[in-house]
Structures are given as C-alpha cells and as structure tokens.
Symmetry: C2
Subunit: 204 residues, 2 copies
Amino acid sequence: MSLTARQQAILDYITETVATQGTAPTRSEIARAFGFRSPYASECHLKALEKKGAIELVGGAARGIRLAGTHAARPAELPLVGRVAAGSPILATEHIERHYRIDDSLFRARPDYLLRVHGESMRDAGILDGDLLAVRQTPEARPGQIVVARIEDEVTVKRFEQDGPRVRLLPENPDFAPIEIDLERQELAIEGIGVGVLRDLELQ
Amino acid sequence: MSLTARQQAILDYITETVATQGTAPTRSEIARAFGFRSPYASECHLKALEKKGAIELVGGAARGIRLAGTHAARPAELPLVGRVAAGSPILATEHIERHYRIDDSLFRARPDYLLRVHGESMRDAGILDGDLLAVRQTPEARPGQIVVARIEDEVTVKRFEQDGPRVRLLPENPDFAPIEIDLERQELAIEGIGVGVLRDLELQ
DNA sequence: CGGATGACTGTTTATAAATACAGTATCCCG
DNA sequence: CGGGATACTGTATTTATAAACAGTCATCCG
C-alpha cells in the first residue's frame, strides 16, 4: 500500500524533524508546519501512516513517533584496528583506535572491522601501505580471496591459495616472497577475509 | 570540564535511548532507569550536563534533550556518480546511482561525492577499474594531487602537474600516455580532487 | 447516484512531562 | 571547620501532548 502525497509530505517532515531536532514532532507541531488548525488532522495522518507501516506510534508517550526502517538503515559502526600485538585477539579493545560509520551496503560482503595495512606486499593488488582493509571475520577462505592471516603471532594480509594440505599466502609484489604452509605441520589461523579497501588520499 | 561518573552514565543512557527508541527519555524515565524516586534528580543531572555542554535542553518541550555533537557525528550522505554523459554537470541527478553514508572523518578532506573510476590508467597509484574515488568538489588543484578533470566533455582521473601555463595530467600506468594541456590554447576544467579511494573486493 | 476514502475543523479531556521548591546527606578542598 | 559541589527525596504546579468525538467538504469509483 503506497502513501498519498500528503502522507508522504508528512512522513518527510517527521524524518527531517528527527534529523535536525533529534526528536519527533508533536501533533501540534505537525499541524503548525502544515497549517492545520486542528491537531487531530495530524493524528489522522499519523494513524494512516502507522496502518501503512511507515511509522510506529508509541501510545501515551510524548513525541512517540518511531520511523520504521530507521533501525536497518543506520550504518554500522566499524572498529578500526591498528597494530595487533602478538598473541592477543584482533578485536581486543586496546587495538581499537576509533570507530567509523560506513554504509555496509558499500561492500557486497558485510565487514566486521577495519584493519590498517602495513607494508607494500599487496601493492599490485591496489592495497598500499596505510590503507584500511575492511575485513569480514571468518575462519574460512576460498582460493583467490585476500585474507587476514596470523602466522606465528604475526598478522598479515595476503592472497590465499590452497592445494590440499598446502596453503600458499601470496603477496602481490615481486619484491616479496610467497609464504608456503603445510597445514599438517604448521598452524595457520585465518582471521578474516578482505571485503573492501579504504584509502585516504592526503592532500599534502 | 569533565563529566562525573554519574553524569556520564546518564549521558550514556540518553544516547542509548535515542539510538534504540528514536527519542530522548523523559525525566521520569531516567529516574526509573536509575532508581531515583524523584524526577527532579534527573532534572539536576540534565542541568549539569547542559552546563558542561554535553547536551542541550529544549525548554518547554517534552523529551526535549538534544545530544551535543550528534550533528557533527552524523555521517554524510555521499552521492555515487556513475558514468558522466558528455556536456552535463557531474552531479546531475541522472548520473547519481545511489547514496552511501560514510563517516566524513574517514578522510582528512571532506568529500562531496563518489565517482566510479573506469579503466586502468591509475593502476600504479592503487586506483583500479571499478574503484570509487571520493571527490572534493573544487576548481583548484595543487601539483601531485589526483584530480577529476574534464577535457573535451570526457571526465578523467589523473595526477595533476603544472608548470606555468602548461598542465600535465599523468596516468599512473606505463601503458598510458600523459596528457599535456596548454592552458592558453586548450580549456581544462578541474571538477574536483580525489580525497579517498573505496574498493569492494568481491568474494567471487 | 451513493458509498468509500482522504483531508480536514473545532472542541474537549485525561494524562504525560517539564519544572520548581525546600530539604537531606556525603564528600572533597583549603 | 565551613563552604561548595554532587547526589539525591518528596511534593507540587503548570504546561505540553496524546487522543477522542462529531462534523464538513471534497474526490474518486462502480
């Protein structure tokens, strides 16, 4: 069921009020904004909007208008992980430098955190020193994916290739050597897979 | 002036209420949450928080508590510009594919829009085909910056170098030739400068 | 034509909520 | 030791707000 033009206008007004004032308008405020001489006109529109699922009315509460879908549209807060100390989990609080809000629909896979990349080993994949890698936390990787791996307490970003029990972590830079791991002898912890890259181009 | 532990707890409660309920709590709701037997206790804390600049109280309005700084922290909505048709302005509505919310503190310079990059000409600068370039709209560029330029109705992304009236737009890929422009003969429109790069690493 | 829907007016009422006053208790600081 | 800040209680008052009723006036639709 779609909204009428008037209902849409009122929904827009509510959305804007929430955005600018931080709180929903009262019936009287809506009436004033639209020139209604009765707050009951607003009431009727709100009821219609609620029936159509555009808003949710909280009974008995002042300014109790909740915008539907606001919850889902709110962008996720991604923690930025700086250098990871040996032996501690990636998402330990002491590694988290700050949080960034980023629309999670920006990447096809939803990331769980941002990791600052150090070094030039993935240069030819367009991942440079200082870039932020958006990482999805998962212990499984498929060949060809860019992974965040932990080898002997060192966290590294490489391209993942697997051939049975033999895993290869490939840099994307001829100056660096691939890392070969025999899963039967050595341990390899996949911390996550890269789903996106963010770079700040500083303007000098 | 810093907040006391109690004041911080109450500020946190307000922040959380705004996030989950979409509206600020009343004095009574705060009192209920903290076990105060009088709403005036909440009132005093709110006044203290206002005096310290943590919130703003809207007099006479129900639930009139505005969180300070919420305005600045709200992530900007950046329009994503796809292919730009010849002769039309970059931010023409028909080029805008969608909007993304991105924390503008992610980049040192605040971007105005996102532009999808086509081609491999900036490969060695870590800007690959399909990447999104966060662009700050400005007609001025300094040497070394990555610019969005328009030459004969074609929009292109290159590194900017200038030597008096002679401008060079440098690709970052040996397979591409630099573009030389004599400002006294040819026209060059700088649409903006690149302030950041965003890439979606698809997971196949 | 007649009924349904949308968009209101004018008025009323109960309740939600802001806001104030007068105290009490505790703690820290000089 | 006294003053100021913090953290409350209990009660009171006014204002803001939600919510409802009974209508009016259009418009659309079969």
